[in-house]
Structure formats: C-alpha cells, structure tokens
Amino acid sequence: MTRVLSPVAGRVVGLAGVPDPVFAQAMVGPGTAVDPDRAPGQAIAPVTGKIVKLHPHAYVVVDAEGHGVLVHLGIDTVQLKGEGFTLLAAEGAEVDAGQPLVSWDPAAIEAGGRSPICAVVALDASAADLAGVLEDGRVHKGTELFTWS
C-alpha cells in the first residue's frame, strides 16, 4: 500500500476543485488537489521512490510498488517554462517521501493570472484503488492525502 502525502500546505479542494477539466474529471487519474498557502515554499515528494519525470511545474515519483504519483504545481504553469521554479533534485534520483523537490511561490503564480492549485494524481489507477481520499480541510505539508493499494 502506498501512502501519498501532500506536497504542499494548504486547503484541500479535491480534483473537482481544479480549474482544468482534464484534472477535474480525473482524466489524468484519480486523486485530489490542494490550494496551497500563498507563501514561498518547497513542494515535497509525495512518496518514497524514484523521480521518473521532473519538470519545474510538475513531477512524477514512482514507488517500490510501481505506483506513480503526479504532482502538478498550478494550472497552465507549463507556460512559465520554469520561471519562478527552482529544482531541488534531479530526474532519476531516489528520494524519500517528504524530501523537497521544487521551490516555488504560489502567490507569484496567482499574481501572474494562473491558479496555483496542486493536483496530486495516482497514475494508471482507478478510483477504487484509492482509500481515505481527502476532499476538504486544511493540510500540512506531508499530511496523508490518500492511500493506494
């Protein structure tokens, strides 16, 4: 079973709260989303495993069970081409859950007219594989968002 941790501190809004239909309709996969606190911060690895993809605005970590979790920092943030994001790890690295991977400033994303909401998505999973999915409430960085079995 994989425990998936919140990459950021903030308010849980669920995937339905993501202002992008592809995430909101769980087309990328099931999961949840967090509206981050508007302060500079470091987004962490949601699981222990290997960083198989590391973009400034999004990353995928795959754990020992082969479960891949996508963290997408903000919506349409790919357009920023990395501006405002600093990578704190390297693609291909083995990381521990909770390890900082990207530093960014959600307030700056919002000031640029984009939503900083972070989608946390279980890749190649069905909704039935997830349990205890948080849909609301406040979370700290590292709070468990759901389990995946």
């Binding site: 198989v52 993809k53 995928v60």
Partner: protein
C-alpha cells in the same frame, strides 16, 4: 502491424492534458498500442505513467504501432489528437 509516425503539434508536448486525452483514446482499444520516440524503446500507449515518462516534446516525432482489427482506425484517431495544435490554455 500498423504503424505511423506523427509530429507532435501540441505546444506543451505530450504532457498532462494532451497525454490524458491520448491515453484515454488508446485505452479504449482492445489491442496493444505503443508509442515511441526515435532511439528509445516504445512504451505502452495505454499507460499515462509511461506516456508522461516518454516526455515527447512539441515538434518531435513519435511512432505509433498497433496490430489487429481496427488498428488503422485507432492510429488514425491517435494521430489526429497529436496533430492538434490545441491552445496552451484550452
């Protein structure tokens, strides 16, 4: 075996949004479907994890392969998806 090589027109490459649409279309097909970049091993086109890991960028070419009844029609649909230069903030 049906095969075709397609240039990725999506400005953001084959990432979250285009990748989800692509995988969802592939996953509906009964047969195996792969997508590959030149010089790399092809990956399962029905896996969002594999397709995101492929990291195919705007302007790059990928090769789609499928075999069996309906393979050509499927590849046609997938090609159409990849050929759409959809706006970055669709």
């Amino acid at each position: 075996m049906s095969e075709r090589t397609v240039k990725i027109e999506s400005k953001v490459g084959l990432h979250a949004r285009p990748a989800a649409l692509f995988v969802q279309t592939a996953a509906k097909a009964p047969m195996d479907v792969t997508v590959g970049r030149p010089g790399h091993d092809p990956v399962n086109a029905k896996s969002i994890l594999a397709v995101l890991g492929l990291d195919a960028r705007h302007g790059e070419e990928v090769t789609l392969r499928a075999e069996g009844d309906g393979a050509d029609e499927l590849l046609e649909r997938l090609q159409r998806l990849l050929s759409q230069p959809e706006p970055e903030s669709a």
